[in-house]
Symmetry: C2
Subunit: 253 residues, 2 copies
C-alpha cells in the first residue's frame, strides 16, 4: 500500500474499481428519490437547511472520524470540523509528502458530480426508500473519493520522484499555466482509455448473472461516463494540487 | 415490497443476494485482522470490554436508528437500547402481523455466525486495516440480517395466510415439538438447493473479470456455506418465531 512504484499503485487503483461498481449497482436498486436531496427537507427537527443526504454524509463522517478514517491520507472528509479519532490508527507510515497531502481535497466536487450522476444511475421516481438511498449514496461517494485521492497522492508522489526537476519546472509558471502544463505532463491517454474499457467490461461481468426481473441492471456506459468525467479528471486535478504543493515546500519545512 | 405473494417475496430475496455477495467480497480484500475482534482491544479510551468490531456495530446502529432504519420490520438491531428516529419514515404500511414482527430478532446469531465465518472469508494475518475491516464487517452483517428477517417475516406471513389452520395446529404442541413441526412444514428442500446453486454461480460471475493480482478472489463454496449453514437456517428459525407469535395472539389483541 505504501509503494511509489507506479505498477503497484495502478494495481491498487484497479482493485478499488469493483468496490465502486458494487456500490453504484447497490444504489441503483432504489429509485432516484429526489426528495432526499432537497435542502431543508431532511425531516430532522434540527436539520436546518440540510437535505437528508447532507445529514447522512455528516453523521457518517462524524462516526468515521471517531474510528480514525481521516488519519489515512487517501481518506479525505467533506466536512472540515469533525471529532478527533478515539483510537490510534496503527497503519505503518507512507511515502507521501505531508504538504502535498494537505493540499488535496476534491470531495466537494466528487459529491456535486455524484449528485448530478444519480438521476442517470437510478430509475426516476420515488419508492419511499429514503434511508437506504442516502446510505448507499454515502458509501458510493466514499468509495469514489478513496480512489480519487489514492490516485492523486500516490501517482503524484511517484511522478514527482521519477523527475523532480521537470515537475518543478512545469509547476513554476503562473497559476493557470502551471496547472495545464502539469496536466499535460501527467496525462497518459492510453492508460485512461484502458481504464475506461476495463471498468465498462467489469460492470458487464459483475451483472452477468443478474435476473432483470428482480434487480435493476446498470448500463456500463453510465459508469464509464463517471470514470471519464469525474473520477479520472478529479484524480488528475488532485495530482496537480499535490505536485504544486510538493514542488514548493513552505519555507522552514 | 409489501406483497404476501411468495413469488414476489422470493424475487425480492433473490435481489438481495448480490448486495450480500458484494459486501463479503469487499470485506475479503482485507485480511482477517483478528485483533479487531479481541474484547477490550478497541483502542477507544472508553471502549471497556468491547472489541473494535463491537464498537463499530454499536456506532453504526446508533446512527442508523437516528435515520429511522429500525422502523422497518426487516431491519432488526443487535442492540436493544438505541436512540429514537429523528425523522418519520415515510414507507407505506406492510401486511405483517406486529406481534409476529416483535418476536423475530436473529441478529445475535447472525453476528456470531458471521464472526466465525470471517476466517474462512479472509486471508489470515494482519494488514493493519482495522477500520476498513470492521466497517465492511458491519455492512456485511446488515445485508445478511436484512435478508434473514425479510425472509422470516414475509415468507412467514405468506405461509400463514395460505393455511392458517395447519400453521395453528403445528404450532400448538409443546415448544420443541411445535418448532420441529413448523420447520418441517415450511421447509422446501428443492427451493433451498436452487438458492444455493444460484448464489454460488453469482459469486463466480461477479468475479469473472477479476484480476487475481490486484484483488482477492472469494471461493463460491464459502458463500454457499454461509447461505446453507447460517442464512437459510436462521431465516427458517425466524419464520418459526413469527408463525408461533402469529398463531397465538396475546389476549385482547
Amino acid at each position: 500500500m505504501a509503494s511509489t512504484d507506479l505498477r503497484v499503485i495502478a494495481a491498487h487503483l484497479e482493485g478499488l474499481e469493483e468496490t465502486i461498481i458494487h456500490r453504484l449497482i447497490d444504489r441503483a436498486q432504489f429509485r432516484h428519490n429526489p426528495e432526499v436531496y432537497v435542502h431543508g427537507a431532511s425531516g430532522f427537527p434540527d436539520g436546518g437547511t440540510n437535505s437528508l443526504f447532507d445529514l447522512r454524509l455528516l453523521h457518517q463522517e462524524r462516526m468515521d472520524a471517531v474510528f480514525g478514517r481521516f488519519v489515512v491520507p487517501e481518506e479525505q472528509p467533506y466536512h472540515a470540523t469533525l471529532p478527533q479519532p478515539a483510537r490510534r490508527v496503527g497503519l505503518s507510515g507512507n511515502p507521501l509528502d505531508p504538504h502535498g497531502c494537505a493540499a488535496v481535497n476534491r470531495v466537494p466536487e466528487i459529491v456535486s458530480d455524484y449528485l448530478a450522476f444519480v438521476p442517470l444511475l437510478c430509475e426516476s421516481g420515488d419508492d419511499g426508500q429514503y434511508g437506504s438511498s442516502v446510505e448507499h449514496d454515502v458509501l458510493a461517494v466514499q468509495a469514489i473519493s478513496r480512489r480519487v485521492h489514492y490516485g492523486a497522492l500516490y501517482v503524484g508522489e511517484s511522478k514527482y520522484r521519477a523527475n523532480p526537476d521537470r515537475v518543478r519546472a512545469a509547476a513554476s509558471g503562473a497559476d493557470e499555466h502551471a496547472r495545464s502544463e502539469l496536466i499535460a505532463l501527467i496525462t497518459r491517454q492510453d492508460v485512461e482509455e484502458r481504464i475506461l474499457l476495463r471498468v465498462a467490461e467489469k460492470v458487464d461481468y459483475v451483472q452477468a448473472s443478474l435476473n432483470p426481473q428482480v434487480r435493476r441492471r446498470v448500463d456500463p456506459d453510465i459508469v464509464l461516463q463517471l470514470y471519464r468525467d469525474t473520477i479520472i479528471p478529479l484524480t488528475k486535478e488532485g495530482e496537480v494540487d499535490y505536485l504544486i504543493a510538493r514542488a514548493f515546500q513552505p519555507p522552514g519545512s
